[in-house]
């Protein structure tokens, strides 16, 4: 049994232990690309909330005298205006709020449902597990867009439908991941020890299994957010998602595409924001995966 060099150093370190999370955070902070991603996100989020305060314009105000003007400092139309004379600067900010909200909230809900569902299925095992995972398989097979079209036809276009539809699909993959991880965690000796101590199943799942399987889920979720934003953008682009008077990046891109020849900034600017956000989340996701790599955990 060889002593890990890190163990030897830690023995001489301060009284306060360094948890695995703290060690991972340290590794993450050292990753330049990941921190750059965090910076980009912070800036875009700040922009989303500060822009309306800084600009004198409103999101829906039509300025018929200044239709489709290019970005200019004059009249503080820093991103220009669209075909209806609406200021793009505040609209991009509004779109950011909507797109980020959908991305984050949907992912959060999907993670919560997926983690609990997968952990329970994996831990309980047997028939229950089989049934639960067959349900997942069936739902998985349903085509997302098909389902959304049906929903939209029945309930009309509604931003909450977008949340619901995307979330209803994303939790499935998370459930599968967590179930697999739970099956592995069930075999560990510390779970066996907890069982031998008489810990009830809820305690084992919540305190022993979930914290130890959540690593891959975190990485997956971070890479899920941009996917959700992209799906929402696509839906809105098709006219199935967010509708006027609200706006989202997808909607802005859709409108921008129509005016590509005459006013390219209407497409380029929202698309750049979307692309930057996607990059940021991807860098962060990669950074998290490296930081949480079990091989680095003693």
């Amino acid at each position: 049994m060889t002593a890990d060099a890190g163990t030897l150093v830690a023995a001489a370190a301060s009284l306060r232990g360094e948890s695995l999370w703290r060690a991972a955070a340290g590794r993450f902070a050292a990753n330049r690309a990941a921190m750059a991603g965090v910076l980009i996100l912070v800036l875009i989020t700040a922009f989303a909330f500060i822009a309306p305060l800084v600009s004198p314009h409103e999101m829906e105000t039509n300025d018929w005298e200044r239709i489709q003007i290019a970005p200019t400092a004059e009249q503080a139309h820093w991103f220009g205006t669209d075909a209806n004379g609406r200021d793009l600067f505040v609209r991009v900010a509004a779109g950011a709020r909507v797109s980020l909200a959908i991305g984050l909230i949907t992912t959060l809900v999907a993670v919560l449902i997926g983690v609990l569902y997968g952990a329970v299925a994996g831990y309980v095992g047997g028939r229950t597990d089989q049934v639960m995972m067959r349900i997942v398989d069936v739902l998985y097979a349903l085509p997302l867009f098909f389902a959304i079209i049906i929903l939209v036809t029945v309930f009309g276009r509604n931003i909450f439908l977008v949340f619901l539809a995307i979330g209803a699909v994303e939790w499935l993959t998370i459930a599968r991941i967590v179930r697999g991880q739970t099956l592995a965690a069930k075999q560990t000796e510390y779970v066996e020890a907890a069982r031998s101590l008489g810990a009830p199943a809820t305690r084992i799942i919540l305190r022993h299994i979930v914290p130890n399987v959540v690593g891959p889920v975190i990485v997956f979720s971070t890479l899920l957010v941009p996917t959700v934003i992209l799906v929402e953008s696509f839906l809105s682009f098709l006219g199935l998602g967010v509708q006027e008077p609200q706006t989202s990046w997808g909607l802005l891109i859709s409108q921008g595409t129509a005016a590509l020849d005459s006013a390219p900034w209407l497409l380029v600017i929202p698309a750049s924001f979307l692309a930057a956000t996607m990059f940021a989340f991807n860098f962060i996701g990669d950074g998290l995966r490296d930081a949480l790599d079990p091989r680095d955990e003693a």
Binding site: T2, A5, L8, V9, A11, A12, A13, G26
Partner: protein
């Protein structure tokens, strides 16, 4: 004593790790030699640096490690050698045996195929020739019914058998030196004896030199000609096995020998232990002997001045190296 140069010659070997929390000196100036056909046991507990010494010789150090000093295999310097050269030496001139036989063997290939692959890759042996030599080495490591075992997968073999296959893979290219890191620790006591006898037979019959790393003195008693005891990154005693067991000079060696409960002793209420724990290897080293805080015979000089490893001649004419201020064991 032959005048032939030693197969392995280590001088002042040191290993330092740079970690996020500071530097750790796992090995602090270790020197020893292994002659051809001789076996050395490197004994020490966790944190003594014995395994790191071997990894440094084998050239298997992680990126944050700095190796200093010298380690010569058949005269060739290993410290600082290129990765390509070390890869070429490992297997052909140096055979390695690690603790866990299951991870050392590929699960999806038969053991025979694995031996043949080594021969084909390193020496370009044809399949008939490779098979012949593989069977030969399997017999050499006392695997019964080698033709049948040749076709078996690692999971079909017992722990002791697997470890002997690993030894076979380490020996099949006829290296000059075999290095084994805790080869019997994961095995049952009953199987351990078999594997150690295999090592002994290999050394005696093929003339391969052996460095055996272990924390168990009972293991080296049967398998090694010479023993070096390590503590806190240094060698504290080195002697012929019989001499070391007969009259251990260093207090740590004596304490270590006393710790193990022996079946032929009368039962005792309390086992002898070494109270406390080994010192931390992080940061600057303290003055004085590393073992002094736990030593029952420590004197003032022991805490302020580190004893050097010096050759000592005993009354019965035997020589050994000891790093201790005490002239004779009290």
């Amino acid at each position: 004593m032959s005048a032939a140069p030693p197969i392995l010659s280590v001088r002042d070997l040191s290993v330092r790790f740079a970690t996020r929390r500071g530097s750790v000196e796992a090995v602090r100036g270790v020197s020893f030699e292994v002659a051809a056909g001789r076996s050395l046991g490197l004994v020490g507990e966790s944190g003594s640096g014995k395994s790191q010494t071997c990894y440094a010789i084998m050239g298997l150090m992680p990126g944050n490690a700095t190796v200093g000093g010298s380690a010569r295999l058949e005269g060739e310097q290993l410290v600082g050698a290129t990765r390509a050269r070390l890869d070429a030496l490992r297997g052909r001139r140096m055979g390695l045996v690690f603790q866990d036989p299951m991870t050392a063997l590929t699960p999806h290939m038969t053991v025979g195929a694995q031996l043949c692959e080594i021969l084909a890759y390193h020496e370009g042996a044809g399949s008939a020739e490779a098979r012949r030599r593989a069977l030969e080495i399997m017999e050499r490591v006392r695997i019964t019914d080698p033709e049948r075992r040749f076709e078996m997968y690692p999971f079909e073999l017992s722990g002791g058998m697997r470890q002997r296959i690993v030894i076979a893979t380490a020996l099949v290219l006829r290296p000059a030196l075999l290095i084994a890191d805790e080869p019997t620790t994961a095995l049952d006591v009953t199987v351990q004896a078999e594997v150690l006898r295999t090592f002994r037979a290999v050394v005696e019959h093929t003339g391969t030199s052996l460095v055996l790393v272990t924390h168990d003195l009972g293991v080296v008693a049967g398998a090694c000609d010479e023993v070096a005891v390590m503590y806190a990154g240094r060698i504290v005693e080195r002697a012929a096995t019989a001499d070391l067991f007969h009259a251990p000079a260093h207090p740590y060696t004596r304490a270590l020998l006393a710790c193990r409960p022996r079946l032929d002793d009368p039962p005792v209420a309390r086992l002898r232990t070494i109270e406390g724990q080994p010192p931390s290897l992080a940061g600057r080293e303290d003055d004085g002997c590393a073992f002094a805080p736990r030593c029952g015979f420590a004197q003032a000089a022991c805490h302020s001045q580190r004893p050097a490893l010096l050759t000592r001649r005993a009354a019965d004419g035997t020589t050994r190296e000891v790093a201790c201020h005490l002239d004779a064991p009290p």
